[in-house]
Point group: C2
Chain length 149, copies 2
């Protein structure tokens, strides 16, 4: 896609800045939330993908996490040792191994996401219902545009 000349430069600058600062604050808040858990930030991201997408191969998870397969393998090894996930062979093609979220992994990811939602909800108290539903629509649209790139 090419740049749309009609997009106001100042609006883009303001949006880039707001998204950059919001991302930094959310990253820090996310780290604080993880302090109460035994998982690391990359483990949180891996659990998040398995929770949202179901079982994934090492290759699929590596793509989603922008990591080399060897790095993802190390990550998965530690998570398997901690009984958060399990490697499962595909019954139709036993050469294919998928990573499966275990109950403890699911419990942790659901608790951490609930805490992140709770924090965000607190940050949104001054927003009106209509404002929030427009923001929700716009951010989901932006996320899809970014994914399709």
């Amino acid at each position: 896609m090419t740049n749309n000349a009609s997009v106001n430069e100042q609006t883009v600058a303001d949006l880039e800045k707001a998204l950059r600062h919001i991302s930094a604050i959310i990253k820090q808040k996310g780290r604080e939330i993880l302090n109460d858990y035994t998982i690391t930030p990359p483990q949180f991201i891996a659990l998040q993908w398995l929770w949202e997408n179901g079982d994934l191969t090492i290759g699929e998870l590596s793509n989603k996490m922008y990591l080399a397969c060897s790095t993802t393998t190390d990550l998965v090894d530690r998570m398997e040792k901690n009984q958060l996930i399990l490697r499962v062979k595909d019954p139709k093609d036993r050469r294919v191994v998928r990573i499966h979220l275990l109950q403890e992994g699911e419990r942790i990811i659901e608790e951490v996401i609930a805490k992140r939602q709770h924090y965000l909800k607190d940050m949104l108290v001054t927003f009106e219902e209509k404002e929030l539903s427009i923001l929700e629509k716009s951010l989901i649209k932006l996320q899809h545009e970014m994914r399709e790139e």
Copy 2:
């Protein structure tokens, strides 16, 4: 601040998810942009703060970056060696040292931010002008709420 019961749970869940995924994509895009430069991601964040706020003490920069002062000192040492910044004594109180952005640091941060804006602009081509100005207002408001916490 306490939770506002009127904020719809599904809306909060959707917003948390969209912000989490957008942040991850922006983080990755930011890393790709930095591949063309000699600075690291933490150096980018430090330059960003100096560019937006002007001269800062090590303590002020540490707070903004959520880092220990010793970590910030190491970061500043490397950036001073690379002639991106300079330590300057306050003329009114020579015990106070501030970090000052040098021309090369300014050139790099402005180029990197411009590339981030260009990427975001491409992601926003399908948005209408009105949609964008509402999104801009909402994200700036969210950023302020998060900062005031």
